[in-house]
Symmetry: C2
Subunit: 240 residues, 2 copies
């Protein structure tokens, strides 16, 4: 592998850089205290909400629906998740649903994320290549101190991962060939799509993204160019 | 003025945040030593190159040409500027022209820019709203330490200032109404276009952008919401 060619590291964010599950649960707690009928666990809402994530993007990926930013999909998905848990969102003031929708803007990074990114930034361009929209990523970064060089991803590319355009347009915006860019992700399917587009790939294990009983993405399912247990180890390998 | 509504400051960059004229001249110096026939002053090339800037965007603004990023226009404009100065670019290796084209990626900020932006970032979202493309702005920020929260502007909006879409799509990406955003610029015409779109306006005087004999933009030509002599004074006023 000619790693010297790589000029930019682009990052999956939800699950790879930040802990969406505990963050959403934390933000949902006061909401559920009011509207959860005393029986919905915050983590259960986080999981139900996230289950709608990929299906909701499918209409955009398939071209049935024009690109809309993730904030819009999250807001629709929140209503679906609440219904699934037996709560009727029509009985909740829309402003309260709007406020809860911002939970995704204020997720905490994994403990090693900021320090690792700060080290990696000294040698590489670092940017999110997330399905999250620009304002979401910006709010998250400002709150958590994520030191991105730029905010790229689905909204800039106007395409959701794992559509090839999401990866290829990001490389194009950076003026790079695909193999001058490496995707860092905790998800084998994201890395597989990136590799198909010619990107380099780095797998970071996040074995509690889905909680203590996580089943998937515990191991690298292909020979990714780099495999690391956290961003500290990733920086050790990429800066060596 | 209800300034409390403003959540984001978006900045013109060339001339307002960075000194393009001396930066381009510095980068052009070794090039002209080789190809300038001993008679072209670096500052003269900087001025000739910049004179092509706005006219070159007009084809995109008018819809005659699809959006292309500023790096592409700068490269075309370099050839025009050289011809105007009596140098035939066809006799110069394209790789040398490509290298000089990156001069715009490594301009120095005005002495007060980084400190002022760092202060303003504590209260506001700060982002460029420049006609420069993402990679150009990114390289510049990384080299100079400009602490942007995100890189917005013409390439994200797919429209060049002063086209209204450049301002309005930037507000939309930030999820803000136009009057929740303030343009900071050293150019009265940029501020006038932003005000037409409903943005708040801050004029920062950069009286040597065009050199010691500058004639334009020495004074605020409308009652802009804020007027300041540098980014320190701007921060004093907006953080008061």
């Amino acid at each position: 592998m000619v790693w010297d060619k790589v000029q930019a590291l682009v990052f999956d964010v939800f699950g790879t850089v930040v802990d969406w599950r505990n963050g959403v649960a934390r933000e949902a707690e006061p909401f559920l205290a009011k509207y959860g009928q005393g029986r919905i666990q915050p983590l259960a809402l986080a999981d139900a909400w996230r289950r709608q994530y990929s299906p909701s993007m499918e209409a955009v990926r398939s071209g049935q629906r024009p690109f809309v930013r993730l904030d819009v999909l999250h807001r629709e998905n929140l209503e679906k998740a609440l219904r699934e848990l037996g709560v009727n969102p029509d009985e909740i003031p829309p402003a309260e649903l709007d406020a809860l929708n911002l939970a995704w803007h204020c997720l905490d990074p994994w403990p090693d994320s900021v320090a690792g990114l700060t080290r990696l930034k000294t040698r590489y361009i670092i940017a999110p290549l997330s399905n999250g929209n620009i304002r979401l990523m910006l709010d998250m970064a400002k709150r958590a101190g994520l030191p991105w060089d730029a905010i790229l991803g689905a909204e800039v590319a106007q395409a959701y991962k794992p559509t090839p355009q999401a990866y290829l347009r990001t490389a194009d915006v950076l003026g790079l060939a695909p193999d001058q860019m490496c995707l860092v992700a905790a998800h084998n399917n994201d890395l597989a799509a990136a590799r198909q587009c010619g990107l380099k790939t780095a797998f970071v294990r996040r074995s509690t993204e889905h909680g203590p009983d996580q089943k998937k993405d515990l191991v690298a399912e292909q020979d990714w160019d780099v495999v690391a247990d956290d961003f500290g180890q990733l920086a050790d390998r990429l800066l060596a």
